[in-house]
Amino acid sequence: MSNNFNLYFDNAATSWPKPEAVYGAAEIQMREASGNPGRSGHTRTLESDRLIYRTRETLGRLFNIPDPSRVVFAYNATDALNIGLKGFLEQGTHVLFTAMEHNSVLRPLQRLRREGLITSTMIPCFSDGYPDLEYLESAYQPNTSLLVVNHGSNVTGSVAPLDKIAESAHNRGVKVLVDAAQTAGVISIDVQKEGIDMLAFTGHKGLLGPTGTGGLYVAPGIDLKPLREGGTGSQSESDTHPQSMPERLEAGTLNSAGLAGLLEGVKFILEQTIENICQVEEELRRYLIDSLLEIKGLKIYNPETEAGRSVAVVSFTVDGADCGEIGYILESTYGVLCRTGLHCAPLAHQAIGTFPEGTVRLSPGFFTNKKDIDFLAKALKEIVQLASG
């Protein structure tokens, strides 16, 4: 994508570009369909209802969720995590979470702790971002009810070993909530095979949809307390919010234009196959890391390139240089877009030793090409020389 636009290395923040069909579907939904889903019963409403159902069903195909009623829509992964955490945790329970968690987990937990509702324990992570599984084994308490795990780190790209973590938790009757903000759409996720009880995902990153979309998978048998209640278009005579899924956890008009785009993003992934996307991104990650390793004075966090253990998120620092300044030069001189700082994950930066300064984060995506990486590496080489000179 090295046309007139800047070189985009910020797919971990939001993916760009989107597949062409994503833009078109969102526009068509607003221009031509646009009935309020679930509300009126006329043909436009029905078309919107069908679109939303298909989006649940298609996400179900991607994550191996047989019952689409267990896919609840949210604004983004943060919203989904709030629905999961605040809907699941009961007074007096204990929660485990890893050091790689984003503020979307840390802040809701902090509120629940401050209000005296829960206690929690952090599972430390190594300097490459992988959680200390031995520590995990010693961290359970009799009242532990939930383990929250960041699937793919937005700082180091490290992918947590979900199968081992879920097995450990389930052996103790503890449920597992997975934050898949960085992994949904770029690595294979099978909620049944991997023992995921709740899966929070966003629509605008790896799933290639618009912002303002995302959702939460809730396994059968888990009845979350709703965070919000209100109009659903059904059971209007009752002053009680419907109990059946997915309406139980959804209130108010859904973002049908956004979901129309998300549906096309997920269809694109299914057509390309998740295995192919994963392979393409892994190759890009490896190529990027190999290019960066040639630059002296630049330190990469989690230079791991073993297949399936990382997503295409690479953090680095330069000796003696401020990461914000590097980001500024990258854009102002070379037109390269990235993200610098703490990436809303302060504990992750503490774990890898980059707190409070942070890192420069580069996140290529499915549409990035190797020429872009060559240009980026050349730019960084010049910047590092400047910094060391």
Binding site: G38, H42, T45, L46, Y53, E57, S69, Q235, S244, E247
Partner: protein, 94 residues
């Protein structure tokens, strides 16, 4: 006087799921706004021939759908139809 049968649903999700599941089956049916004379939790109902009603109901229940009510409407032009609520418990055809 023509008659047709209706299935109502507790939520929109179940109405649309019913349509999605039945699309692959050889039933003639249509998703329609719930006739005003029927009270329903969800604004969309499934209209079908009364001869298919029991079989459609069974098929949907086998797929874990929640259904709300079953009705037979005697319709004549624009006159208010006559509604006959059907008790299909036990799989009877009503």
């Amino acid at each position: 006087m023509a008659s047709s049968c209706y299935i109502t649903f507790p939520t929109t999700f179940f109405a649309i799921r019913a349509e999605s599941i039945l699309k692959k089956q050889p039933y003639a049916f249509k998703m329609v706004p719930v006739p005003r004379i029927i009270s329903s939790s969800c604004g969309t109902a499934l209209r079908c021939g009364c001869e298919d009603l029991a079989s459609i109901k069974e098929y949907l229940l086998q797929h874990d759908l929640e259904l709300e009510g079953f009705y037979k409407l005697e319709e004549e032009g624009l006159k208010t139809p006559i509604v006959v609520p059907l008790d299909l418990n036990g799989g009877g055809s009503g």
